[in-house]
Amino acid sequence: MSAKGLLIDYQWCTGCHSCEVACQMEHGLPPDQHGIVVNQVGPWQLPDGSWQFDNIPSPTRQCDLCAARTAKAELPTCVHHCQAKCMRYGDLEELAANLATSPHQVLFSL
């Protein structure tokens, strides 16, 4: 089986925290531990008047890509519940091919 990862299109991450809490519930993590955590950058205004405001979810070492779920052909719970539908799970190689399609994406090898 080839290596898996998470591709996150942070152009669309709204910072809703569903991935974080779904992960905590799935893995029984306490409130101060995370398998994935959303980092907010901004808001602040840029010289051209536009706004810097990104949310970037980052998986931690406690992420096992929901091995128990994917073994049953279920999506990782973060991907399942992502309200902005901006997370993808799959083969690293195929995910990497998607990186070139639009800016503001990040790929995690897990």
Binding site: G15, A22, R88
Partner: protein, 781 residues
């Protein structure tokens, strides 16, 4: 559908996305259910409503609610052999949320097992109100106490001496109104100044157009974004709300993001740069409380530049010339002065809206909470009427109705003449006669003065108004304390119950009981399905109302159990509870251009359900009530321009109630994983404002004005307009002491507000008043 996920080839890239066809097979024949001559749209279910999977029992249902919001997402509730709720997941088959879920429902298992839940009925001596001196009692004793007290009040003083209060709109509303009407009371009470949540916009819409209007995000169709009749809105004007978090009017907020990914572009009007604002085509950073002026200015530009929809206005609108006259003074320059925007921003927004093929007005409580909210709502609505954004795909649509219970279920049981005893019936006819509720501000005065008659009791069902909606909790507490007997129903002990309750009944959470999910925004037929037995002595709100209603008026409550009651409610739809549970969600047949087809008027003629048959830019209804038939702008008061002397002492504008992820008003602070997202109340301001007034990011500070003060942690947010403070609402510390009402007096932002409605009895100052901030001093700690 579910097999979409189960059959997925996991060697390929998978997502919960497939934007255009999430969970739905394109081209598949639509499923439907014939009932009473209507053909309901359905989705294909891979499983029955309850099934076994990997040693767990899965119950499909709707999450409406307590604890939770007013959306009603499709959920899958997983329980184990011991009957414990193991987890809650979003249901990928449900077109509403499409498998997604917000943190509040994801964390519901820790609500069910929360040690601080109310577990059995309790009573307390009236003299001990505010003290933790509760005594456990049986349901029979609790019902006896409530029956005996309310019945005595009714016999001695009339049924109008008892108030019936609810909080936010959830599935409990219709049972409360039936309990109230069948008891004989006309007092349907929201405990929010100027009824300023949802009600003003609904009322302004009905008064001027005969309908309510929702943005069309394809929510009327079971196949959603795939439906061939639907087109994505070209423009979404997000006006004074943050729908991703607040999900108002039956909207699942992230539909806005779905539409953005399909090409919709946004105009965002807000004092704060929200995430949506950062992604908008245009972000109008507006002074709080001046939205009405902006709308009038945009209408001015659209008329001056001849960008209005001539054909639509000629055929379907009434009073265009009068509207033109009413906006003539609102030039871009004049409006820039009022709103603190640039004139060219206003012109650009007007052109951008008018030239869009279709546009949605995504509005929210910031408009309801404008003091003169009715004329402001008229202005916003007129903008979308003269641009023809009515009853067409991707614009504003009149939502179809599965069951109609406007004004509350059971209205026929209210004895004749009782309606005129509503608080504010004569003073504010738009509230008391048109919206048929008791007007909150008038009710408070009546509690204080016993005029025109004495109020003696209250039924307070799942509302924590002292911590949440009260604009002056000290005054409201004193007013309510004049009541001789107060019965409360809730999930948790709250500051409101600790302060006021004489009897408290424990309610159940949605995984523990059955119910109907029909109303709020776009109706659809869904059931709330019990997944587990409760471990408390709690009973559902529906059962409580049925059992008490039966005591007061058995004829009005003829059902043996709640399921018989649900069957009777559903009868006009052609479903009963069990048949709906099996197929839900059921989508009501929907068509666009209903006004052209005679589908909006009671007489079946083309047009709108108004006296003129048109969308009334000049309103006959409001004119007949002595109100201005045209939209109009009033300076927010208190405010920098309306109260300049006060502004010298309190030089910042305070806006309250921005929604944080994880909380729904005063709920959810007890759940550890949600509390961790937002541990304490904050007030946001930019760095310049923080520096100017000597407060620091992350530190506690006071926000105060001439009326009072409360504590907040300062959060520097460069997205907040300079000179504006945005403070959390609805805070209390469930972990705190009951003796000081769980820190209510330190934390209530209502301390700075007032019962101060607009002319029509609607509207308030929650979103725009004045304040200053200062660091906590040593003795304050």
């Amino acid at each position: 559908m579910a097999e979409h996920i189960e059959q997925h080839d996991f060697d390929s890239v998978t997502t919960n996305d497939d934007m255009k066809s999430n969970s739905y097979k394109s081209g598949q024949d639509a499923l439907n259910f014939e009932a009473n001559g209507k053909s309901f749209g359905l989705v294909e279910h891979a499983h029955p409503w309850r099934y076994e999977q990997d040693g767990l029992t899965v119950t499909r249902g709707s999450a409406w609610s307590g604890p939770g919001c007013h959306d009603g997402c499709g959920v899958l509730m997983y329980s184990d052999a011991d009957g414990h709720l193991v987890k809650v997941e979003g249901d990928p088959e449900n077109p509403y949320n499409q498998g997604r879920l917000c943190v509040r429902c994801i964390a519901v298992p820790e609500a069910i097992t929360n040690p601080s839940r109310l577990r059995y009925p309790m009573k307390r001596e009236r003299a001990d109100r505010g003290k933790d001196k509760w005594q456990r009692i049986s349901w029979d004793e609790a019902y006896d106490l409530i029956y005996q007290n309310f019945q005595r009040f009714k016999e001695e003083s009339g049924a109008e001496s008892v108030l019936f209060c609810q909080g936010t709109g959830r599935d409990i509303a219709q049972y409360i109104t039936r309990l109230m009407y069948s008891f004989g009371s006309p007092h349907y009470v929201l405990n929010i100044s100027g009824m300023s949540c949802y009600a003003p916009r609904v009322t302004a819409c009905f008064a001027t157009t005969g309908s309510f209007w929702l943005g069309d995000y394809s929510q009327e169709f079971a196949d959603r974004y795939d439906n061939p009749e639907w087109h994505r809105p070209e423009r979404i004007v997000v006006w004074g709300n943050n729908p991703l978090v607040s999900n108002s009017d039956g909207l699942y907020g992230h539909w806005v993001v779905d539409c953005m990914r399909l090409g919709s572009e946004l105009i965002v009007v807000d004092p704060k740069c929200t995430w949506l604002a950062s992604r908008a085509r245009q972000f109008l950073q507006i002074r709080p409380g001046t939205d009405g002026a902006l709308a009038l200015g945009m209408i001015n530009v659209i008329i001056a530049e001849d960008l209005w929809d001539h054909d639509f206005v000629d055929k379907w609108c009434y009073g265009f010339d009068e509207l033109k006259e009413a906006v003539s003074a609102y030039t871009p320059e004049a409006v820039a002065e009022i709103t603190w925007l640039e004139a060219d921003e206003i012109v650009q927004a007007a052109r951008d809206l008018a030239q869009a093929e279709s546009a949605i007005l995504q509005w929210g409580v910031a408009i309801d909470m404008t003091k003169e909210t009715i004329p402001a709502s008229q202005a916003l609505l007129a903008l979308f009427e003269i641009t023809g954004n009515i009853e067409k795909p991707g614009a504003m649509i009149a939502p179809p109705t599965l069951l109609y219970y406007g004004g509350g279920w059971g209205g026929e049981w209210l004895p004749e003449g009782q309606d005129q005893k509503r608080c504010g019936y004569d003073k504010y006819p738009l509230v008391g006669q048109a919206f048929i509720m008791s007007q909150t501000d008038e009710m408070i005065s009546q509690l204080e003065t016993d005029q025109p008659y004495r109020l003696r009791g209250a039924w307070i069902e799942t509302t924590n108004f002292l911590a949440c909606t009260s604009p002056d909790p000290e005054r409201e507490l004193a007013a309510y304390n004049n009541l001789e007997f107060i019965a409360c129903v809730d999930l948790f002990m709250t500051p409101t119950i600790m302060a006021l309750g004489d009897v408290v009944l424990p309610a159940l959470m949605y995984p523990e009981r059955d119910g109907l999910r029909v109303g709020d925004g776009a109706q659809r037929g869904e059931t709330i399905n019990k997944a587990i037995e409760t471990e408390t002595e709690g009973r559902s709100d529906m059962q409580i109302c049925l059992e008490l209603g039966r005591r007061f008026n058995p004829e009005a409550w003829p059902w043996n159990d709640v399921q018989e009651m649900f069957d009777d409610i559903l009868k006009p739809s052609g479903f009963d509870f069990k048949s709906m549970r099996e197929v839900a969600p059921a989508y009501i047949p929907f068509e666009y251009h209903k006004h052209e087809k005679g589908m909006l008027r009671l007489d079946g003629k083309p047009g709108f359900n108004t006296p003129t048959g048109r969308l009334e830019l000049w309103s006959s209804f409001l004119s007949n009530l002595g109100l201005n038939p045209l939209p109009e702008f009033f300076e927010p008061s208190p405010g920098p321009k309306s109260t300049p002397e006060l502004f010298k002492d309190y030089p910042l504008i305070l806006t309250t109630g921005a929604r944080p992820w994880g909380y729904f008003h005063s709920e959810h602070r007890q759940f550890p994983h949600l509390r961790a997202l937002h541990p304490e109340p904050v007030m946001e301001m930019n760095q310049h404002t923080a520096d100017k007034y000597g407060v620091s990011d992350g530190e506690w500070a006071w926000v105060e004005n001439d009326r009072g003060k409360c504590k907040r942690i300062v959060k520097v947010n460069q997205g907040v307009m300079d000179g504006v403070v945005s403070a959390d609402h609805a805070w209390w510390h469930p972990e705190g002491s009951p003796d000081n009402l769980y820190d209510l007096w330190d934390l209530a932002v209502g301390n700075l507000l007032a019962f101060d409605p607009g002319k029509a009895g609607f509207g308030c100052t929650y979103k725009s008043t004045l304040c200053r901030v200062r660091p906590l001093e040593k003795e304050d700690n």
